[in-house]
């Protein structure tokens, strides 16, 4: 009797499990929206990162490639937006578009030669790109303001309407994230997406099926760079300030952590990873000196007990054979 009841419960749980990661992430965001204050800022960062990680997921999760350099494309579009609005007085939306175009142009120039490389070599080459863009942002003081950065960047808006309040920004970012996630899911389900996953599985097998591997890798690189650029521009308009550190190596480390903790290759992974990883240090803030220690321990526990990421946890609940 108890066992059959257990089975029923387990099956019900298994049926709703795929929705669980989404529900948890959205519940946290909803709570932040209602509670207001500092948590809204934390969640706004989380959403910007979630967009960035969604792009990484296309290139790394779907296509199975490596990049340590997508912060470069966030930096290109972020600085593009910042310089054009703050120094040249452009409208935020036009500057936004110009920043995106700059980043995509950069991704095309960089991607074409580097994507001949594979594995570790690709990782090293992309890492170098991130470091080069960082150095340029530091050294080219006349335009970027060096370490001091650029402040006074206007928020996004159309005509006279600007997205000013923290809550409005959070809602706007959530809308952008929903669109970004939806488009990434559509991409994965398409013929193009299947080709990317095939490339991740075996480049030789993919080529033998008639897939133009080099072309598709470049496309995946550009698409993920577009998400990165979107995140970069959103960041500077939301925060109103940019400095080289914003798009430094720390961004890469943080985004990787989010991608793996959330679940690489899954649809919900980027959002869940970004929300949880942004929340972790805040949760342990009360521990003061031990905050980093607790954060590290939390990460290790997550990776031990959810090696495929939080978004994949639901699949661990076994269904009974009958269902």
């Amino acid at each position: 009797m108890t066992t059959s009841r257990n089975i029923i419960w387990r099956d019900r749980l298994a049926a709703v499990a795929p929705a669980l990661p989404w529900t948890i992430a959205l519940a946290i965001l909803g709570y932040a929206f209602l509670a207001g204050g500092y948590l809204v800022t934390v969640m706004s960062f989380a959403l910007i990162y979630a967009i960035f990680v969604t792009g990484l997921n296309v290139f790394m999760g779907y296509a199975g490639q490596v990049t340590f350099g997508h912060n470069a494309f966030a930096a290109l579009s972020g600085y593009g937006s910042a310089v054009l609005t703050a120094s040249y007085g452009w409208q935020p939306l036009t500057a936004f578009a110009a920043g995106m175009a700059l980043a995509l142009g950069g991704a095309l120039v960089v991607g074409y030669p580097t994507l001949r490389l594979k594995g570790h070599y690709l990782a090293m080459a992309t890492l170098a790109i991130g470091l080069i863009v960082y150095e340029v942002a530091v050294q080219w003081q006349a335009v970027t303001g060096g370490y001091m950065g650029i402040s006074g960047i206007p928020p996004l808006g159309v005509g006279g309407f600007e997205i000013m309040s923290d809550r409005a920004q959070l809602a706007f970012l959530l809308l952008v994230l929903v669109l970004a996630t939806w488009s990434a899911m559509r991409l994965r389900a398409s013929r193009f997406g299947r080709a990317l996953v095939a490339i991740a599985g075996s480049e030789d097998a993919a080529r033998a099926l008639g897939i133009d591997v080099a072309h598709y890798k470049l496309m995946a690189f550009l698409i993920s760079a577009a998400y990165a650029a979107l995140a970069g521009s959103l960041f500077v308009h939301v925060v109103g300030f940019v400095s080289p550190e914003v798009f430094g190596l720390h961004m890469v480390v943080l985004a990787f952590t989010m991608l793996y903790v959330g679940g690489i290759g899954t649809a919900a992974g980027p959002l869940v990873g970004a929300v949880i990883i942004s929340l972790l240090p805040e949760t342990f803030r009360a521990l003061k000196d031990y905050q980093d220690l607790a954060y590290g321990a939390g990460l290790i526990l997550l990776l031990i007990y959810a090696p495929k990421g939080l978004a994949a946890l639901g699949r661990l609940i076994p269904r009974s054979k009958e269902s």
Binding site: R191, R194, A195, V197, A198, A200, G201, S202, D204, A205, R207, A208, L209, G210, I211, D212, G265
Partner: protein, 239 residues
């Protein structure tokens, strides 16, 4: 009738190398339309390298002609587009994707939905198990089912000539017989097949002709009907 059709596949002095090491030395062989050819030889004889070189998956030099036309030497996608399709060693199925998605990828170059459905129907008729497992992730299939999927995926490309690299690898004898039986059926329906196999007796039962490879060379052409004892074959394996 002096102008015979050219062979469907004609390989002349094909060499291949990995890095600086040559693994295939000037291989020459030809396959007539509708033939079932076996490529035999011990481990490391260069059988897989030959298949990969024909497809252009490994750096190679020499000539490969398909129906008299030269095939580009470094473009597997172009080979696939002309109907030269390889079932790679170790199957090469895409584990995280569903069975249905794997099959769809087989017909990657096809954009006609009705033709796609027709091909899928045909493959599922050949391998009903794949239909039952349609929504399942390919990585969760058994070894035999994965091999069926690999063959089924190749058939989705509607090949003119099907190259198979050791489909029996790691399979139970009964499953191997099933799959080879399906290949024989496809051959009777007119499909040209080149089967790479270490297990000579199995392959010789099906093939009309066989090539023997050893140490990166094609060393002999065999008529399976004349093979009465395996002593003749053994000398190549033991050389």
């Amino acid at each position: 009738m002096s102008d015979r059709l050219p062979p469907i596949l004609e390989v002349k002095e094909l060499s291949a190398h990995y890095g600086g090491v040559e693994a295939l030395h000037s291989a020459t062989l030809s396959v007539e339309n509708g033939e079932f050819i076996a490529i035999l030889g011990p481990n490391g004889a260069g059988k897989s390298t030959l298949m990969r070189a024909v497809m252009g998956l490994v750096a190679n030099a020499g000539s490969v002609r398909f129906r008299g036309e030269s095939l580009p030497r470094a473009a597997p996608d172009a080979c696939a587009a002309r109907g030269v399709v390889l079932v790679p060693e170790g199957r090469g199925i895409f584990a995280p994707m569903t069975v249905a998605e794997n099959l769809e990828l087989g017909a990657y170059l096809l954009r006609d939905a009705t033709e796609l459905a027709r091909r899928r129907e045909r493959v599922l008729a050949l391998f009903p198990r794949l239909g039952e497992r349609s929504g399942q992730v390919a990585g969760s299939l058994s070894g035999g089912e994965q091999q069926m999927l690999a063959v089924g995926r190749a058939l989705m490309a509607s090949p003119q000539i099907l190259l198979l690299d050791e489909p029996s690898l790691g399979l139970a004898p009964r499953v191997t017989e099933d799959i080879l039986g399906t290949l024989a059926l496809l051959n009777r329906e007119g499909l040209t097949i080149v089967l790479v196999e270490q297990k000579a007796p199995l392959a010789l039962k099906l093939a009309r002709r066989a090539y023997l490879m050893s140490l990166g060379r094609v060393v002999a052409e065999i008529d399976p009907r004349t093979v009465t004892s395996y002593d003749d074959l053994a000398q190549y394996y033991l050389a």
